[in-house]
């Protein structure tokens, strides 16, 4: 108990005893150790997962190297490859870039720079927040009903076009939210400088605000593409092919876009359900092939994620200095 000043026993020895006499904080140390354990466990589980996947995937790349990437889906692990999955995923990414970026960035800028605090604005913001939390499988339903069935004349039904538009809609809230955050972080002095020389609001935005917010916006869009690349549930609902997919090589681009398709996450799902018999020629199993497919997908997704985060951190640090 603390020593009261009015009855001070402040001889040196009394004080020394009091200050050095504390017990070791066992509870505190145990608490801290538990926390470290949680931290390590969280990281470790995920690292183990990645390690296992890479280890399984190595023989595939060793034994089949580029054939794995260029071959199409097949029933034997000796022949099957992910080229169709890669193509589908890249097309979907292209749709996201072309459709979701402009709309998302425009909406984000509008909400931060132009919108007045009104009921309508709050309603729009509420909508965006809720959309960001909707499960991806529900977006799949939207895509199925509206694009696969409703607009099948345009999209060709169960096609990569339907998938691309659906996923663009799915990631739209992410782009809007990250754009709005990046624009919000722009110091008001910058805007005022623009207005000070007689610019209209759009000109000030375009010439001063957007360049400053650009790294943040770019980060958000990279994360959005990474998200779109990884989604499988909506694709299943839209009708991506999980089994064999025959592509006639003489099809024109438009026909290809409107025809049956698949994408990397769906390939992975399909192969996860395959029987695990080793191929006669290479001895590889679909389990190993799938690990290799995951490596390819993760390569795309993680590189985007890492690049986005590095970009954001570097610009934040630059800002602060």
């Amino acid at each position: 108990m603390a020593v009261s000043a009015s009855t001070v026993a402040s001889t040196r020895s009394a004080v020394e005893a009091a200050l050095t006499g504390g017990r070791r904080d066992v509870k505190g140390i145990v608490f801290a150790m538990l926390l470290v354990l949680c931290m390590l466990a969280s990281l470790l589980m995920l690292t183990v997962l990645l390690w296992d996947v890479v280890a399984q995937a190595l023989p595939v790349f060793q034994k089949r190297s580029t054939g794995f990437l260029t071959n199409e889906l097949a029933s034997s692990p000796d022949k099957a490859g992910v080229s169709q999955g890669i193509w589908g995923s890249l097309v979907i990414a292209a749709f996201v870039v072309v459709l979701a970026f402009p709309v998302g960035i425009a909406a984000g800028v509008y909400l931060e720079e132009y919108a007045t605090p009104s009921r309508l604005t709050r309603f729009i913001q509420l909508n965006i927040r809720n959309l960001a939390g909707v499960p991806s499988v529900v977006y799949g339903i939207l895509g199925l009903v509206v694009f696969v069935k409703g607009f099948d004349g345009v999209t060709g039904g169960r096609s990569v076009i339907s998938a691309g538009v659906t996923l663009a809609i799915l990631v739209l809230p992410i782009i809007i939210i990250t754009t709005a955050e990046s624009v919000r972080a722009v110091p008001s002095g910058l805007r005022e400088a623009g207005y000070g020389v007689g610019a209209t609001r759009w000109e000030a935005t375009r010439d001063h605000v957007l360049p400053y917010a650009a790294p943040g916006i770019l980060t958000g869009t990279m994360l959005a593409v990474a998200r779109a690349l990884g989604e499988a549930a909506p694709l299943l609902l839209i009708g991506a092919i999980t089994g064999r997919l025959a592509t006639a090589s003489d099809q024109g681009l438009l026909d290809q876009l409107r025809g049956k398709f698949t994408a990397m996450p769906v390939v992975i799902y399909g192969w996860a359900n395959e029987v695990n018999r080793p191929g006669k020629k290479t001895g590889l199993t679909f389990e190993q092939l799938n690990s290799a497919a995951i490596v390819v997908l993760l390569g795309l997704v993680l590189v985007l994620n890492i690049a986005a985060i590095v970009l954001r951190n570097r610009f934040e640090r630059k800002r602060q200095s």
Partner: protein, 299 residues
């Protein structure tokens, strides 16, 4: 006179698309769900939703629509995943926010964010091939490799970075001055964390929990691969047995390939389940937002 008129109108239209999308989702979900419900009313009766009609269980192609089976599956999986993610995620968050050096934090936090971006189908594959046979089966003596327990644990691992990230943000938002006040009164760090920082951040942490639950409920690919996909009854609520979640049920229905195109009630049930799922996650997300608003302490 220079104005922004056209540009502004364009941007406003862009912002409005979010409302259009919301409306579309609600409209399509509920219109199709209604088709199902009215179809049910005409054939097996609404009671089928609760007792499965002829026989209980979720076998839509046999006209058995015991929705409680799949809702129970979803809830069991969510509880297990929160049991994994909450302590691990919160513990990691407290460590990062209160104990880690700034340099350590600068390295670990981005790693967590990157790990949060791993696609869920990868977790599903991992659960199916490794987690089930090598960890859960030997540890718990389950009969099968795929069951609700494996699914729950895998989704828990998936959701942990999310839980950690949001909790950590809430903890960091507690002002330094409060920690200083506590330390200045002679509190040890663990005491300050438990008695001052955690109570001050509680609204954010609860919101993190709710958001994690919502994410777990909506997770499809892990359940589609690892749950055992058996819509059986009786509803034992035993996680060590194979089961079915709402999301896995939806994936199953969509996968019936060409048979699926509009043939009878089985396919329509997809939309009904989707509508229920949508309402559940929407309710949770709005609850999380309200928790943050209501309980927020003005520091």
């Amino acid at each position: 006179m220079r104005t922004d008129g056209a540009t502004q109108r364009l941007m406003f239209a862009a912002a409005l698309t979010s409302v259009v999308i919301s409306a579309l989702i609600v409209f399509t979900l509920f219109r199709e769900a209604w088709t199902f419900v009215s179809g049910l009313l005409d054939t097996v009766g609404l009671g089928a939703l609760i007792d499965g009609g002829a026989a209980p269980g979720w076998y839509p192609r046999n006209d058995r629509f015991d929705i409680i089976t799949i809702v129970a599956g979803t809830l069991i999986v969510s509880v297990i995943s929160v049991a994994v993610a909450a302590p691990l995620g919160l513990g990691a968050a407290i460590f990062l926010s209160e104990y880690a050096s700034p340099r350590l934090r600068r390295w670990v936090k981005p790693v967590l964010e990157v790990l949060a971006g791993i696609p869920s189908v990868v977790f599903g594959f991992f659960a199916l091939r490794v987690l089930g046979p090598d960890l859960i089966k030997p540890l718990f003596g389950t009969a099968t490799n795929t069951n609700l327990l494996v699914t729950g644990v895998a989704i828990g691992i998936l959701v942990t970075p999310l839980m950690a990230s949001i909790s950590e943000d809430s903890l960091r938002a507690v002002p330094l001055s409060l920690r200083e006040a506590s330390t200045g009164l002679g509190a040890r760090r663990s005491t300050t964390v438990v008695k001052v920082v955690l109570p001050a951040a509680v609204s954010g942490i609860v919101a993190a929990l709710i958001i994690s639950v919502s994410r777990a409920i909506g997770e499809t690919m892990v359940a589609a691969l690892a749950s055992g996909r058996l819509g059986q009854s009786p509803r034992t609520f035993n996680p060590t047995e194979p089961g079915l979640t709402m999301t896995a049920a939806m994936a199953q229905l969509a996968q019936g390939s060409d048979q699926v195109v509009g043939s009878g009630l089985a396919f329509q049930s997809l939309f009904f389940v989707g509508a229920v799922l949508f309402l559940m996650t929407l309710g949770l997300n709005m609850l999380a937002a309200r928790v943050v608003r209501r309980l927020r302490n003005q520091y």
